[in-house]
């Protein structure tokens, strides 16, 4: 009996066209619109990448009291727009001449880039590895995440720790948004609502992370000996089932929050105040 572990055939064709496999010329026989999901994913991610790159490098129109764009918070350089009571922490001092957003965005970017959902999304959407299930991929060789550089995906949990810090700052920003333009407390505008929705989604996405699920309880062997962590693990697990949905929702919401601040800052729009 063939073991199926023999090296590829002499002809050079591998995968589904390997000489040992059923002779079918087509790369796949799927009749549904399998390309739709990866195409939509790629398009959606592309739109966000273009928009966020523009906004991150713009270094302008990111503050309009009491709102600060989530792309620019916390502000770690001296060249920031002063934000009253806001997260102006000049750790990097004045030598930093580029957009202060770049100092911060690296963390959410890294978190999302190494996220187990986004990995699936861009491996499928951009790298076609595989484009869809049972659709042959176009690459001759594949080593996955078993070696450099993709083995670095394993650092996901450190980005998770930073993402928690960033989410904390954004929570602070959301609290600050319950002020008016003169920094007086007890007010709320449409922007506050946008920030509120955004921060809820950011937290939901961050906490639904697979690394979080692991740290909170997944790494345990005996749940019965850690009832509190077991319960937490259950909750995170429930959120985790919607990780993809939360990833997209929070991506959109963070973009919308930034866009909202941009529109206010450029004066294209004025913030409707509720009270």
């Amino acid at each position: 009996m063939a073991t199926g572990i023999d090296p590829a055939s002499q002809t050079g064709a591998t995968g589904v066209h390997d000489a040992s496999r059923a002779a079918i010329p087509a790369r796949h026989l799927r009749t549904d619109r399998w390309w739709l999901a990866p195409a939509a994913t790629a398009a959606g991610l592309l739109v966000f990448v273009v928009y966020s790159t523009w906004r991150a490098f713009a270094n302008a129109d990111y503050y309009h009291a009491p709102y600060v764009s989530p792309f620019y918070s916390p502000c770690l350089a001296a060249n920031c727009h002063p934000m009253h009571g806001g997260p102006n922490w000049e750790i990097f001092g004045s030598w930093w001449g580029l957009s202060p957003a770049l100092l911060v965005l690296i963390f959410p970017l890294g978190f999302r880039l190494t996220c187990y959902y986004y990995r699936k999304a861009y491996y499928r959407g951009f790298w076609a590895s595989p484009p869809a299930c049972a659709v042959a991929e176009p690459h001759r060789k594949y080593t996955g995440e078993s070696r450099f550089p993709l083995i670095l995906q394993n650092v996901h949990r450190y980005f998770f720790y930073f993402a928690v810090l960033v989410a904390g700052v954004l929570t602070f920003d959301t609290v600050l948004s319950f002020r008016d333009e003169h920094h007086a407390w007890g007010h709320m505008g449409l922007g506050s609502l946008v920030f509120l929705v955004n921060i809820v989604l950011i937290w939901a996405y961050t906490l639904s992370c697979h690394s979080c699920r692991h740290i909170v309880g997944g790494r345990l062997r005996h749940f019965s000996k850690h009832p509190v962590r077991y319960r937490l693990w259950g909750w995170v697990g429930k959120l985790n089932e919607r990780h993809m949905l939360l990833a997209w929702c929070s991506l959109v919401s963070v973009g919308v929050a930034d866009l909202y601040v941009y529109l206010l800052a450029t004066g294209a729009f004025s913030d409707p105040r509720f009270f």
Binding site: I5, D32, C133, A134
Partner: protein
């Protein structure tokens, strides 16, 4: 289309294309075949055997989605023949049935799945705790539930078939155990009484070093095709990756183990 619907108790003529052949050669053969209400694709394959192609080879057994024998690809998607109802297809549609394309073909719809049995042997077995006699095992339900999910596996090998790591790269078969057997490692690592570590076996480490966990790029096709609905990626593979990361990439853990080793 109207002529295909003969009316009588919902019976109609369907158009099937079935791959027939052996390792040397083969191709898709067209059939017209009667379909009755409530039937599944395996019923139609059996009707072909009984009426038009008595030597059509197909592997099957329980016909109730419990044994995982009748794995094949229907319209290009890995599925169980016995759990695919004809009613999900349009009556005018041509239904294409091929053997699993991730494994060497034997004949017609039958493939050589020995890769999976070879891999199964490479996974170190459950290590019983030495201090417990039979009958003394005490385990809480919440502690066994995780592994129980993985033990629902019926070994249809559809996940192994669809996983692009080996489906598209024959040469990876020696280094990669495939989702089914990485899940087996996760099952044992989460078993509340497995004594592997006491016996000097680190399942998390060997998952990555010996069974190719790193090849998995979590694109989730294994989960998509699993007829038992096991969340292979979210509940087995990713937790296993995280456990391996605990061991190898967490500096605190690394430091801790270094200190402990020094003390010993």
């Amino acid at each position: 289309m109207s002529e295909q619907q003969t009316g009588q108790s919902g019976a109609y003529q369907a158009h099937f294309r079935v791959w027939r052949g052996d390792p040397d050669d083969g191709g898709l053969t067209d059939f017209r075949v009667e379909v009755h209400e409530g039937e599944v694709v395996l019923d139609i394959v059996h009707r072909l055997q009984a009426t038009q192609a008595p030597d059509l080879a197909v592997r099957w057994n329980c016909k109730a989605g419990k044994c995982g024998s009748c794995s094949a690809e229907i319209n290009g998607r890995p599925r169980l023949l016995c759990m695919t109802r004809m009613s999900v297809f349009d009556r005018a549609e041509t239904i294409t049935v091929t053997p699993m394309r991730g494994f060497p073909v034997v004949r017609d719809l039958v493939t050589d799945v020995s890769f999976n049995y070879a891999k199964a042997r490479e996974i170190p077995a459950f290590v019983p705790p030495e201090e417990l006699a039979p009958g003394e095992y005490r385990m809480q339900q919440e502690d066994v539930s995780r592994s129980q999910e993985f033990r629902k596996c019926i070994e249809c090998f559809l996940c192994q078939d669809t996983c692009h790591v080996v489906r598209d790269h024959e040469e990876n078969k020696s280094a990669f155990a495939g989702p089914r057997f990485l899940m087996r490692i996760a099952e044992l690592d989460m078993h509340p009484l497995d004594a592997a570590s006491a016996a000097g076996l680190d399942r998390k480490r060997t998952a990555q070093d010996a069974h190719g966990l790193g090849y998995c790029n979590i694109t989730k096709c294994c989960t998509e095709v699993c007829p038992e609905g096991i969340k292979i990626t979210d509940n087995a593979l990713i937790p296993l990756k995280e456990r391996a990361a605990d061991r190898k990439y967490d500096p605190l853990v690394w430091l801790g183990s270094k200190i402990r080793r020094r003390k010993e």
